[in-house]
Every structure is written in C-alpha cells, then in structure tokens.
C-alpha cells in the first residue's frame, strides 16, 4: 500500500495486508501522536489495511 507521511511530506510503500497498529509500529510511530486515514475516513488501530488502500498517517502534534 502507498502510505503518505508528513513532516516532511513523503510517500512510502508498505506490504499489506496489515493492521493499523502494526503499520505504525513498523514505521516507529506512536498512535497517540498520529491519525491513520484511509481514503478520507479515519480508521481504528485494529483495522486491516489492504495493498490497494491509499493511507495517510497524519501527525497531530503542533508547536503550541
């Protein structure tokens, strides 16, 4: 699957199928600091993501 990341903007390809929490773990990202969006819908950490999915991992931390 194609995964869109931010800070900096980039794309990586990850082999599916994979659960959201496993995807985050593979990319060494903390759930509490990110949202996972498939297409334009939020998904929970137990959701299974397929190779054909367009996935965005959006960071939520701001400088404040």
């Amino acid at each position: 699957m194609i995964v869109q990341l931010s800070h900096p903007q980039r794309q990586v390809e990850i082999k599916g199928p994979k659960r959201t929490k496993e995807l985050l773990r593979e990319l060494n990202l903390v759930m509490e600091a990110h949202l996972v969006i498939r297409g334009d819908e939020l998904v929970t950490e137990d959701e299974m993501l397929a190779d054909a999915d367009q996935v965005e991992i959006r960071p939520v931390i701001s400088g404040g």
């Binding site: 929970t44 960071p59 701001s62 404040g64």
Partner: protein, 312 residues
C-alpha cells in the same frame, strides 16, 4: 472495533476513556467535553460575545466550529505573521472556513497583518530585534488578540490550547520550577486589570489527537504542515515525552494536568509536617516495638506467616 454507544463501526478509540466511538457519537462526545469545560471553569455565558484566536491549525478552527455549532456568538481574529508560504496557506484556510461555514452562523473574521503595521514579517522583526522568533510571535499575538478583544467589546477571548499544550507547558514549568508561571496555567484567566481581556481555553479537556480527529470527521480543512519556526522547539519535545508515557499508561496527561488544577483550586490548609504526621499515626508494634500504623508491623506479620506456611 465498534462504537461503545451505538455499536456501529468505530472510527476512533480513546484509551484514556476506555472508549471507542463512531463519527456521530465522537462528535457528540467532543461537544459534551467542551460544554463541560465551559461550565466547570465558568468561561462564558450563552449571551456573551466571544473572540476566537484562529491560526488555520486544527485546534483553533475546531474550537471556532464547536462554539458556533453549540450556538455561541463567536467571531474570530487571524494574525497574519508574514512567514512566507506558510502564512499564505494558513490565511487561505481560515478565510475558506470563515466564508463557507462561519458566515452562515452570522460570525465574522477579523484579520491583522503584521507586515502592514511593523513593516516586515516576524522573521524579519526577530532578526532586527535580536529575539527568538517564537517569543516575538507570542508577544505580537498576545498583544493583538487582547487589543482586538478589548477595543471591540468582546466579553471573552478564547484560544485553542488543548490538554497536550497545557500538560507540556506544565511539565516545562515544573522541570524548571517556574512557580510564577504556574499560577497562569488555569483554563480561565480573569480580566484582572483594566485593559486585559478575560481569556479562556475551552479545549483544555481534549487531546491533540482527539481534536485532529474531530477536524477530519467534520471535514474541517486545516493546515497540517507544522510552522517552520517551531522545528526543534522544547514544547514539541515535552509533548513527545508525554505521548510516550500516555501510550504506556493511558490517562497520564489528564491526571498530570487535571491533578494540578485540582490542587490549585484547593483552599490553603495549614500543612502538617512529616514529624507531626508520624507522631499522630505511628505507635510501637505489639510484637517487636518498631513504629507501625497497625497493631502488628508488616515485617512481623510477614515472618509469622512464613513460619506457619507450608512449602510448595
């Protein structure tokens, strides 16, 4: 995973509340949390005029959206800081929300452009003044928001500070024992003197992740890109540390910040010294004579049990 309320498919789980919600129930949950903060911290009344400080980011746009949805009279002020493409994009997002959503609620957007008054953006100002950019930015925003709120007769000024902002700031203040700043960490700051607007933080019960999720679920188009000036800031480091702790132990951030607020609100009672407390609560163990709060001390109980227990 299903919504804990209506049992349809969940879009988010909130470990700190041991809950999961679908889109509709999550939106309701968020509105309830904001309403609860407004009430419990006596932020404002239904008839009050509110000025929301907006930046184009998730927190301030979500705050404006929630207040308008809850029926409050909330206008907004955007300060264009003149940080090149970043300010252009954030300004566009704020304008888009104001025109497509806020206007229908009768709310207006006020804009202040730093460059028009100061002759340059905050980067140029910071260079000329030999000051860090973030501190220059903070001074300008605080001044402009307060001035607009006071001059245009708003009852209160609302900012999008969230639980993560407040917990990270508290951690920074505690790490450096900046006692004088701790007093100003409440979600409601009164208009203490003539010329100061009352300031409130209605998102103080909500985490950054919850607010970002609210923006996605409610199709609020905000600027995801981080301010280029905030890279490497201490606040981001503190937030990362707190998020590591939160992941291992859900609820850490709220216990830290809300616990602080509870302690702050407790009336001062004369504090008992450790020696006074020990003298009040401890007496000799009836078996060995060492100080204990019980009739028999833990050690004597443990030894008595060990002597009578059957080996495995």
């Amino acid at each position: 995973m299903n919504c804990g309320k209506c049992k349809t498919k969940a879009v988010i789980s909130l470990p700190r509340h041991n809950a999961a919600f679908c889109k509709g129930c999550f939106t309701t949950f968020m509105h309830e949390q904001v309403a609860r903060a407004i009430k419990s911290f006596k932020m404002f009344a239904p008839e009050d005029r509110i000025l929301v400080a907006v930046s184009g980011g998730k927190d301030s746009l979500a705050l404006w959206h929630i207040l308008l949805t809850l029926g409050y009279r909330a206008d907004a002020l955007y300060v264009n800081l003149g940080i090149g493409a970043y300010s252009d994009e954030s300004h566009r997002k704020v304008r888009h929300y104001a025109d497509t959503v806020a206007a229908a609620h009768g709310a207006k957007l006020i804009v202040h452009v730093v460059e028009q008054e100061a002759g340059g953006g905050i980067r140029e100002l910071a260079t000329v003044l030999h000051r860090p950019t973030c501190s220059t930015c903070g001074t300008i925003k605080r001044y402009q928001f307060n001035r607009a709120a006071v001059e245009q007769d708003y009852d209160v000024m609302a900012t999008g500070h969230n639980l993560d902002d407040e917990a990270a700031r508290l951690l920074g203040n505690v790490l450096h024992w900046q006692d004088e700043y701790l007093e100003k960490q409440g979600p409601t700051l009164p208009a203490s003197v003539e010329g100061f607007a009352k300031k409130v933080k209605p998102l103080c019960r909500l985490s950054e992740r919850e607010i970002a999720a609210y923006a996605v679920v409610n199709r609020i188009d905000y600027i995801v890109e981080e301010c280029p000036m905030a890279k490497g800031s201490k606040m981001i480091l503190y937030k990362e540390v707190l998020n590591r702790l939160e992941t291992e132990s859900p609820g850490t951030k709220q216990r830290f910040y809300w616990g602080f607020l509870e302690k702050q609100n407790k009336p001062d009672v004369p504090k008992e010294s450790m020696a006074e407390k020990d003298q009040r609560t401890l007496h000799p163990c009836q078996s060995c004579g060492q100080p204990t709060t019980a009739d028999t001390c833990s050690y004597c109980k443990m030894m008595a049990k060990a002597k009578t227990a059957t080996p495995r």
